[in-house]
């Protein structure tokens, strides 16, 4: 390819200080001076902030003045600023694909904070690799694809409803999918909201019915997203709409059916504190306002068995023959609003939840104090239905605990308890209330006021978590044993009712959504955003956005804010109506192709056509190709070129980094979506690891061919790491299974030719696993320390043969 290029190469290198972020541990001046010595480099400068306007202006000016035709910026991760600098180049008339970045911050200065010498050496290497690759870059033209002006919203809680309304009001078609029989989510279960003490369902119900009425919103309740294919702007979604057995349009919610139904079950909406029938509506304000039959509970439609509801329904809305349906939807954007589950505190055995009747959770409390709840708003204790005179709240149950529940702060429980204490005081002012807390986190607008009000009302706050709760079997009262850590005194106080203020956690089935949309989750289990500060509602998968607690624990106000933000982000995409896709697809040379069909077999998108029998060479369907590069790695004939990630470019990077001291180095091939991002995350978190590693970015680990690995060994490196997304989390469906197969094949091969196969490592590192990436490198440092010079020489010799 390079040979066709007659044009003289003129490369500009810009080494960014990023304030002290890079310059603090890398000698940027020395790096820039070094870059100047590299072949074809015409300009090499260092500047304080390359991404600033003056920094960008300088690049533009230099392109014109020095006729630069390749640009290398050594600064942060391309995941952050590649689009910025590509724009800069384009503005100066240079094709944006002639730009290359060296990540000397996230992968270097931040992870070698205390080792300036080696960090500087590594930065030089990274720049050298970038220049080597830049020399081989080719201009590319990006294709444009249309964006379907319809959105899918997964989850019908307050966040999902808000996103749906915002998008629908902008005239986009919205599908709102909810797994429960009604939309409303957790907010519908709560009595009042903090800090204003508004009635929760009173402010939610109008939104719910607005969503129900809106001509642009299709509500699919009792439904699950089953499959998602396609890409930004063009997603194909399969939704399983489970049979309701009641015609939504016919049902008037009169309730006659429920009266005759003989089956009694605990009501999920009232967290088991009340009952429902087999045919039921979860709560009065449910949307859609239609009953539903739970078939697991129902006795059946055979007249002998039951059939009572069918006989009773005047509108004949009940239909036992209703079938589950699979709906196929085409949407341009997806908003994930899957919300939270409430923590089950049974494993806190010292608190006796489920053993002691009068120990309840905060959600159970909400239902008990709610006028629409099982006790009609009378706070009664379960054992004897008496109104409690002494109530304790225990904070941080299942939150901020490394051994049980979750290690994070659930954000809402402090304020929820404060609000609950005032609710009790409002109805029963003489109730003694004591709150056992670790820290009260009243950080939001109006929160501190509410806290003060609660204290003014005489609610006692004790800093100290109870060590145990013991029931007095004689009267079912509870003795709470806790230290008041402010005084050091051990308190043993007796209460009528104890409320465990339980934390919140990601919904049980969020792993399904994660897999369907190839998302990442942080170690807390919540979805990871594209950038925690600047793209807080964007998912790393383009066209997917987050709203509400799916992304992290938050209160109603924050959920609604984020929901509107997500709707706005999705709206921007759909409003444009089209989107450019990166020019990174595969190209097959029909002259070199021998029609073996291996590429077509491994392509996760079935984007390659080939006729093996009739020897018709393979061809890529560009619109379907996502650019993972797995075909390129498998082709035995070298007939496949991955645009912008060519074999030659990757070899050039390997060759550059192995020019000096290869025997001390680890080459890491990292996939863009997970492992490269995981290494970035190690940087952002300042997790330190040995400076021996040099990372080469590929879009997918499936791109890494055997030859890349062998080339690295042949050039004398000590070890090679291939890192990708966790199996089943691959951003290219299942391309990383090919990675696994290939590495296993390589291990066998290395074994056979007498190379210690430990020197080739395979790791699955997600974007949230900075520590795992660092640990992998530390472990590999241990391995390379044992690799002798003689061993490396022998490897080179064997491979050259």
């Amino acid at each position: 390819m390079e040979t066709n290029q007659k044009e003289e190469l003129r490369i500009g290198v810009y080494v960014c200080h990023c304030g002290l972020n890079i310059a603090g541990s890398v000698d940027c001046v020395a790096v820039a001076e070094y870059a100047n010595t590299l072949q074809d480099v015409v300009v090499s400068v260092d500047n304080k902030y390359t991404c600033s306007d003056p920094g960008q202006e300088q690049i533009k000016q230099d392109i014109k003045e020095h006729k630069l035709n390749r640009i290398v910026v050594a600064s942060c991760t391309p995941r952050l600023h590649e689009p910025t600098f590509r724009n800069t180049c384009a503005e100066a008339g240079l094709n944006p694909y002639l730009f290359e970045m060296a990540n000397i911050r996230d992968h270097c200065s931040w992870v070698h904070l205390h080792d300036k010498k080696n960090a500087t050496e590594k930065a030089k290497d990274l720049v050298k690799m970038a220049v080597a690759r830049a020399r081989l870059l080719q201009p590319q033209i990006e294709a444009e694809v249309p964006v379907t002006k319809r959105a899918l919203i997964i989850g019908g809680g307050v966040a999902g409803i808000q996103s749906a309304l915002d998008l629908a009001d902008q005239n986009y078609q919205v599908y709102l999918v909810e797994k429960e029989p009604s939309i409303g989510g957790k907010m519908a279960q709560i009595d009042k909201t903090f800090p204003t003490m508004d009635c929760s369902i009173c402010i939610l119900a109008p939104k719910m019915s607005e969503a129900g009425r809106h001509p642009n919103i299709t509500i699919l309740t009792n439904s699950l997203v089953q499959d998602v294919t396609g890409y930004v702007g063009n997603f194909n979604v399969k939704v399983l709409k489970k049979a309701r057995y009641v015609n939504e349009k016919e049902c008037t919610a009169c309730g006659d059916c429920t009266e005759v139904c003989p089956v009694v079950r605990p009501n999920e909406f009232d967290v088991g504190l009340a009952i429902r029938k087999a045919i039921y509506t979860p709560f009065a304000q449910a949307v859609p306002s239609a009953y539903i039959i739970n078939m697991d509970d129902c006795l059946g439609d055979v007249p002998i068995a039951c059939n009572k509801c069918v006989e009773k329904c005047e509108k004949q809305a009940i239909n036992f023959d209703m079938q589950d349906e699979i709906l196929e939807l085409e949407v341009g954007t997806i908003i994930v609003a899957t919300g939270i589950d409430v923590y089950d505190p049974t494993e806190y055995t010292e608190y006796g939840y489920r053993r002691f009747e009068n120990v309840i959770t905060s959600l159970e409390f909400e239902r008990l104090i709610n006028a629409g709840g099982p006790s009609g708003g009378h706070l009664i204790r379960p054992s004897d239905k008496e109104i409690p005179k002494k109530v304790a709240f225990v904070q941080c149950v299942g939150s901020r605990c490394t051994t049980r529940g979750n290690p994070y702060c659930s954000n809402v429980c402090c304020m929820n308890t404060i609000k609950d204490s005032l609710l009790i005081k409002e109805h029963w002012p003489n109730t003694d209330i004591e709150i056992f807390y670790l820290d009260i986190r009243a950080y939001g607008k109006g929160f501190e006021d509410l806290y003060q009000r609660s204290r003014d009302e005489g609610v006692k706050y004790f800093r100290g978590l109870p060590a145990e709760i013991i029931e007095n079997p004689m009267n079912n009262n509870l003795v709470v044993v806790a230290e008041n850590t402010n005084t050091g005194e051990i308190m043993e106080h007796e209460f009528d009712l104890v409320v465990l203020s339980v934390g919140i956690q990601p919904t049980k089935d969020s792993d399904v959504i994660q897999r369907l949309l190839t998302l990442s989750r942080t170690k807390d289990g919540f979805f990871m955003e594209s950038h925690p500060k600047l793209k807080p509602v964007d998912a790393p998968t383009q066209g997917v956005f987050f709203a509400g607690c799916a992304e992290g624990p938050k209160d109603i106000k924050d959920s609604v804010t984020q929901a509107s933000a997500a709707a706005s982000r999705a709206g921007i995409l759909m409003n444009a109506g089209k989107i450019r896709v990166e020019a990174i697809t595969s190209k097959i040379d029909p002259d070199l192709c021998n029609s073996c069909g291996r590429c077509a077999k491994v392509c996760p998108y079935h984007a390659i056509q080939v006729d093996v029998k009739n020897k018709v060479p393979a061809e890529t369907i560009e619109a379907a190709c996502a650019g993972c590069g797995t075909c390129g790695a498998e082709c035995p004939k070298g007939a496949i070129t991955m645009q912008h990630f060519t074999d030659e470019q990757i070899y050039a990077q390997i060759d550059a980094l192995t020019q000096e001291n290869a025997h001390e180095k680890i080459v890491a091939f990292c996939c863009n979506w997970c492992s490269y991002a995981g290494a970035d995350f190690a940087g952002v978190s300042r997790i330190q690891y040995p400076p021996n590693v040099r990372i080469i970015r590929t879009m997918c680990s499936g791109r890494v061919s055997e030859d890349f690995v062998l080339r690295a060994f042949k050039r004398g490196v000590a070890a090679v790491l291939v890192a990708g997304c966790h199996l089943n989390d691959c951003h290219y469906i299942d391309a990383n299974y090919q990675t696994k197969k290939r590495v296993e094949r390589l291990w066998k091969k290395l074994d056979k030719i007498g190379i210690n196969k430990e020197r080739l490592q395979l790791a699955w590192v997600s974007a949230a696993e900075g520590e795992k990436f660092a640990e992998t490198i530390r472990k590999m440092k241990g391995i390379i320390d044992k690799v002798t010079q003689a061993e490396i020489e022998k490897t080179v010799e064997v491979l050259e043969r």
């Binding site: 494993e347 051994t403 007095n472 079997p473 230290e483 050091g488 051990i490």
Partner: protein, 474 residues
């Protein structure tokens, strides 16, 4: 990085460094101190999380303090700590370092403090403090106790108050007796066995506690003016209700948990299949013939672990433990587990015995593998047998250690029991459902540590005192 952390990193004192790091994570939530028996006994002097605080602030001072010596390793705090700090282990390690650096000075101070609070402090120390873990041999121990300066002072308090009966002379009974005596009550302890001391006497292996020390300490208690009537079984020699007729104004039930639970499976009556208490008593009294080659313990509690280590000492070649749930649910304390594993005991998780095989002699145990279902009321996941996963393991001797229940047939109906057969009590006063009758120790818990038993007894004494003060007023 704090100064302290930095300093120790440079000194290369890795272990202390590690302990300080753990101390840094403490949130001071107070879950360790609430319910801690030693905080109960020494409220003015001891608070576990404050020791951690001190360790962060000034490690030297912490090492030279006596606070690091209080913890009695009951492991009540361990599972509750939100940061997963294993306090007893932290204290144990600190003690080792302190002994090297500062000698036994502070340990002596602790012994004095214990002596002032518990007359049978030697027993308490030997059982709860694991002197072998801080490398104290017999010589050191003797010198330690000899030099103990303080004394359990009664200051000539006359026994002029009401008569109180105590049933059982284990740790709870003995401690209640002493505390009541100190308050001026006339105390009589009834013991059904030949020798007083309860669990001290019967089940703690001889290598951890010699019988003569138990006897000495019992004599010490007696010398305080406490009457201990051995060989008197309440319900047989004296009926429970006649105690009140005999002038006792209040009763403290501390008869322990001596009825072992059975598996109720085939072959359990083979002579080589013993219950936990049978085994411990037999080994204690020396009637146990050499333990066989292949020894199997069934159960996952501290007792099971203790039996496993004892079996090795008594000559077993191979010891394994069968537990029906997984390692996450096992009730034995983490230190006990670690210890048996260090000794080479193999623990088979999620395995349950189906029958003992053998005609006259035990040959093996047929077992079945278990999987874990949904959590039950205890919060632990319920084990469910996996179909057709039966297998046989060889065994020459087996001990069933799946828990003990109190034997409470002698109590009148007014004393209500819980579903699990323990006595139902008011957790603040320790009073039972029968007026004037109190209970503590294993009769209310099934099985607990010596330190916890003492705490329960202490609470009960306060409850009884209160009860009798009210009664006098009436």
């Amino acid at each position: 990085m704090s100064k302290a952390e930095f300093k120790y990193e440079n000194q290369g004192n890795g272990e202390l460094q590690d302990l300080i790091k753990q101390a840094f994570t403490c949130l001071a939530c107070g879950k360790c101190s609430g319910g801690c028996p030693m905080v109960y006994l020494f409220p003015e002097q001891y608070n576990p999380h404050k020791v951690l605080d001190k360790l962060v602030e000034n490690p030297e001072e912490a090492l030279a303090s006596k606070e690091i010596w209080f913890c009695a390793s009951c492991y009540k705090c361990h599972n509750k700590c939100p940061q997963g700090i294993e306090l007893p282990e932290v204290f144990l390690k600190l003690r080792r370092i302190a002994l090297k650096q500062n000698g036994m000075g502070n340990l002596r101070v602790l012994i004095d403090d214990l002596h002032g609070r518990i007359p049978f402090y030697k027993l308490f120390f030997r059982v709860c403090y694991h002197p072998e873990k801080i490398h104290l041999g017999k010589v050191e121990l003797d010198s330690l106790f000899e030099k103990s300066a303080s004394e359990y002072k009664l200051e000539q308090i006359p026994s002029t108050r009401e008569k109180i009966a105590i049933i059982g002379s284990g740790p709870a009974g003995l401690f209640a007796a002493c505390e009541l005596r100190r308050k001026g009550y006339q105390v009589t302890v009834f013991e059904s066995r030949q020798k007083a001391g309860g669990m001290f006497q019967l089940t703690i292996p001889e290598f951890r506690l010699e019988s003569e020390i138990v006897d000495q300490n019992i004599d010490l208690v007696k010398s305080l003016g406490i009457e201990i009537k051995t060989n008197v079984r309440i319900g047989k020699d004296i009926l429970f209700n006649t105690l009140f007729e005999d002038g006792f104004q209040s009763v403290f039930i501390a008869s322990g948990a001596h009825r072992c639970l059975h598996l109720n499976i085939e072959g359990e009556n083979l002579p080589q299949v013993m219950t936990s208490l049978e085994f411990l008593e037999a080994s204690k009294s020396g009637i146990l013939k050499a333990v066989k080659n292949k020894f199997v313990v069934i159960g996952g509690g501290n007792t099971a672990m203790e039996i496993a280590t004892s079996a090795l000492r008594y000559g077993a070649k191979e010891v394994c433990v069968l537990y029906r749930r997984s390692k996450d649910e096992i009730p034995a304390d983490i230190n006990e587990l670690r210890e048996v594993e260090e000794h080479g005991v193999k623990i088979h998780y999620q395995v349950s015995p189906l029958r003992f095989i053998g005609d006259e002699k035990l040959r093996g145990i047929e077992c079945i593998k278990m999987e874990l279902g949904h959590p039950d009321l205890s919060g632990r996941r319920r084990p469910v047998p996996i179909k057709a996963s039966n297998f046989i393991i060889n065994a020459d001797m087996a001990v069933v250690a799946i828990g003990e229940k109190p034997d409470l047939g002698y109590l009148p109906d007014e004393v209500k029991l819980n579903k699990n057969g323990t006595i139902s009590i008011n957790p603040l006063s320790m009073e039972t459902s029968m007026k004037g009758v109190f209970a503590g120790g294993d009769v209310i818990w099934g099985s607990a540590s010596v330190a916890e038993a003492i705490m329960a007894a202490g609470r009960a004494v306060d409850g009884m005192d209160q009860y009798l003060i009210e009664k006098r007023k009436a």
